[in-house]
Structure formats: structure tokens, C-alpha cells
């Protein structure tokens, strides 16, 4: 059996998505899915043992109109609605945002650090790919 490597944000697709009872007992609430809870191992990066049943979500916040959503961090939630509310409470308390996106972390596919050499180094000596030879007007922000 080959062992798949897991990186931050990767969660085995058939992992349990049951929800712990908020008062602390391991039961499942309202998820509509029953997963195999036994396959979680130390491979499950980013998911602490006591919360193994609430999936991890990545949070993207747009700080104001016209800007892109930026990755702010991650959190646990039972479903998308709760993830958005948690993101509101965790990441927008100091007026950081006007819009929130959340996506379950397991739907994010990450590049493999082992590929770094072939992925990124070829760009090192190709300075002509940088648009640094253009003069930008001062009015142009956020480039």
C-alpha cells in the first residue's frame, strides 16, 4: 500500500465529517454524511485530535470593494454557514472585511514541496518576465 503524503489543508476525502457534540461528547450532528472515523492518523495535518470531527475551512476576506479576497487563515466549523459565521467572529472583529469566502480545506490541492526545484527555480533567471520596466502612474494602487 502506498502512503500518500499530506500537506497543510489536505484532508483524506473519506475522512469523517461528523460533528462533535458542542458540550464535548463525540457524536455527530446534522452533517448528512457518515465518514469512517478510524482512518484519521497523524497524516491529517492541521486537524487537532479533539476536533477531528469538524472539518477545517479556509477563510478568504475582501477588505474593501474592488480588492481581491485574501487568505486570512483557517477555522473549524460543521458546515458552510457556520464557517462563514465563525469567520465573521474570528476574522472581521476589527473591521477587516466586507465580504467572506470559505472553502473546505480538503478541496484545496497543494503543490508538493518536493517539486520546488522544477516548479520555481526555472523562473529565477528570467527577469524579462517581470513588468518592472513600465512606469506606473501614482494613482494606480494595489498593483
Amino acid at each position: 500500500m502506498t502512503t500518500r503524503k499530506f500537506y497543510y489543508g489536505d484532508i483524506p476525502e473519506d475522512a469523517g465529517t461528523g460533528v462533535p457534540d458542542p458540550v464535548g461528547r463525540a457524536t455527530s450532528i446534522n452533517t448528512g454524511k457518515q465518514g469512517n472515523k478510524n482512518i484519521r492518523t497523524e497524516n491529517t495535518v492541521g486537524v487537532s485530535a479533539d476536533k477531528k470531527d469538524w472539518p477545517l475551512w479556509e477563510v478568504f476576506i475582501r477588505s474593501k470593494q474592488g480588492l481581491d479576497h485574501k487568505h486570512m487563515g483557517s477555522l473549524h466549523a460543521a458546515d458552510a454557514e457556520m464557517a462563514i459565521e465563525n469567520a465573521r467572529d474570528v476574522y472581521t472583529r476589527r473591521m477587516e472585511g466586507v465580504s467572506i469566502w470559505v472553502v473546505e480545506s480538503r478541496y484545496i490541492h497543494a503543490s508538493n514541496p518536493d517539486d520546488a526545484e522544477s516548479f520555481y527555480e526555472p523562473a529565477n533567471d528570467k527577469v524579462y518576465r517581470h513588468p518592472t520596466f513600465y512606469e506606473l502612474p501614482d494613482e494606480l494602487k494595489h498593483m
Binding site: 458542542p22 458540550v23 457524536t27 446534522n30 465563525n86 467572529d89 474570528v90
Partner: protein, 257 residues
């Protein structure tokens, strides 16, 4: 004539203190979850709600201090009054219990507060209208958050459903008091400052029914209700709350940081 005016002024002061005390006491109860929430994200959520309530309380206490005069401040009103002087409803002071009980208390209270502040934002008293209007946005979120949790727990597992049923039987007797007007509430209504809270009861029950239906929870019949908090006759818990809340000012008077 002068006497009547003073009486009205007293009623207004008590009414504002009632609004402030409600917010402070439920805010204090919610704050007890800080660092103890079931998960980090919900710990932050309930603490945010707590801070919203304490912010509302501050606004109302500042206004009450202005009405009271004689050197009263928001701090003296919160920290130096005695149990019998507090005019909060009994629901606000009920213990956190488990997460289900805290959620249900918040849902009952936020539904009430949402209806009340919606009315108060048209109050003839501009200060009350402005504070309520600002707070209404926060309360709208509290109501949404707590409604979703009621549904999640009611419609969840057998365990969570049972805990909600226990919370309902624990807290239901304290909901009736919200809609039994105290003399200062009747006076506020007559002056166009506050709503007729008896009329909010039907709206409150409709909202509770709507959410309970979705959560698969039964709505108990309205029956006997505990009351007295709004007149200063509190449950056994209130003394403990104030002992903790007021400890610092009682032990080290005038202390500041």
C-alpha cells in the same frame, strides 16, 4: 405638577436602568464562557456577543447617569448598586448550564431584545432611540447566531435534542416575565418612550415557534411564569453574579486601571 414631573423622571431613569441591567447581566453571564467555549471559534463568538451586550449596557448607563445626576457615572451604576436596585429580568441572570442552556437563553433573550429595540429605535426619547438603533444591528446577528444553534442542537443527535428539551423546561418559566409590564414600562409606554410590551408577546412566540418547528422542538404552553426581577426581586443567582462583578470596586473603592 412638579411631583408628577419628578415621577415621570424617576420612571424614565428606572426604565433606562432596566434596559442597561438586562444587557449587563446577560453580557456578564455570556462572558463566563470566555476561555471555556466548546470550540475556539464558538468561544470567540459568545465572547463577542458578551462584549456587544456590555457595550449596550454602557450606553444605557451613561444615559442613566446623566438623568440621575449627583455625580453618578456608568461605573457607579454598574458596580455600586445593590441587588434590589437591579431591574433586569430573571431570564438574564439564569446560569449558563450546558451549551444548550446558554444557547436557548440567548435565543429567548435576543428574540425579545430584537423586537424591543426595533420598537425603541422609534422612541420619542432620542437618546434611547439612537442607542437602540445602533444596538439593533448587533442583536440581529445574535438572533441569527442563536437561532441557528437552536436548530442545530434541536435537530441534531438524541443527546443534543435531549439537552435542548432540558434547557426548555429549565428556562421557559422565566420567559413570561419579559412581557408583564413593570410600572416604569407602562409609564414609558404612556409617554411614547417604550412599546406596549404585552403586544410583543405574540410576535415573540411566533418567532420561537418558527425556529422550534425547524429544530423539531415542542413549544410549551404559556403557563405560570416566574417574575420579580424587573422589580428588584431576583433569583438566588443574582447575589453571586454581583459578588463577582462588583468585587473589585467593593474591595478597593475608586480603584482604576
Amino acid at each position: 405638577m412638579q411631583g408628577k414631573f419628578n415621577k415621570l423622571k424617576d420612571h424614565l431613569l428606572t426604565y433606562v436602568l432596566h434596559l442597561a441591567d438586562n444587557a449587563l447581566i446577560i453580557g456578564h453571564r455570556d462572558s463566563e464562557w470566555c476561555g471555556h467555549g466548546p470550540v475556539l471559534e464558538q468561544d470567540i463568538a459568545i465572547t463577542n456577543i458578551s462584549l456587544d451586550h456590555i457595550g449596550q449596557a454602557r450606553n444605557f448607563y451613561q444615559y442613566a447617569a446623566l438623568l440621575k445626576g449627583n455625580g453618578a457615572t456608568e461605573d457607579s451604576l454598574a458596580y455600586l448598586r445593590y441587588e434590589r436596585d437591579f431591574r433586569n429580568c430573571l431570564l438574564a441572570e439564569q446560569p449558563n448550564g450546558d451549551w444548550a442552556q446558554t444557547i436557548l437563553r440567548q435565543f429567548f433573550f435576543s428574540t425579545y431584545q430584537w423586537l424591543l429595540y426595533s420598537e425603541l429605535s422609534h422612541s420619542r426619547d432620542e437618546q434611547i432611540a439612537a442607542i437602540s438603533n445602533k444596538a439593533l444591528k448587533e442583536v440581529t446577528y445574535h438572533l441569527r447566531w442563536s437561532s441557528e444553534w437552536v436548530i442545530r442542537l434541536g435537530d441534531g443527535t438524541e443527546e443534543s435534542h435531549t439537552r435542548m428539551l432540558n434547557a426548555i423546561s429549565e428556562l421557559w418559566p422565566y420567559t413570561g416575565e419579559l412581557f408583564i409590564p413593570a410600572d416604569y414600562e407602562s409609564a414609558a409606554h404612556q409617554e411614547g418612550i417604550g412599546p406596549d410590551i404585552k403586544l410583543l408577546k405574540g410576535l415573540w412566540e411566533n418567532k420561537v415557534r418558527e425556529v422550534f418547528d425547524e429544530a423539531g422542538l415542542p413549544v410549551p404552553p404559556s403557563g405560570y411564569s416566574q417574575s420579580g426581577g424587573k422589580q428588584g426581586l431576583h433569583s438566588e443567582y443574582m447575589g453571586y453574579i454581583l459578588a463577582e462583578l462588583q468585587y473589585l470596586q467593593r474591595t478597593y473603592p475608586q480603584n482604576q486601571w
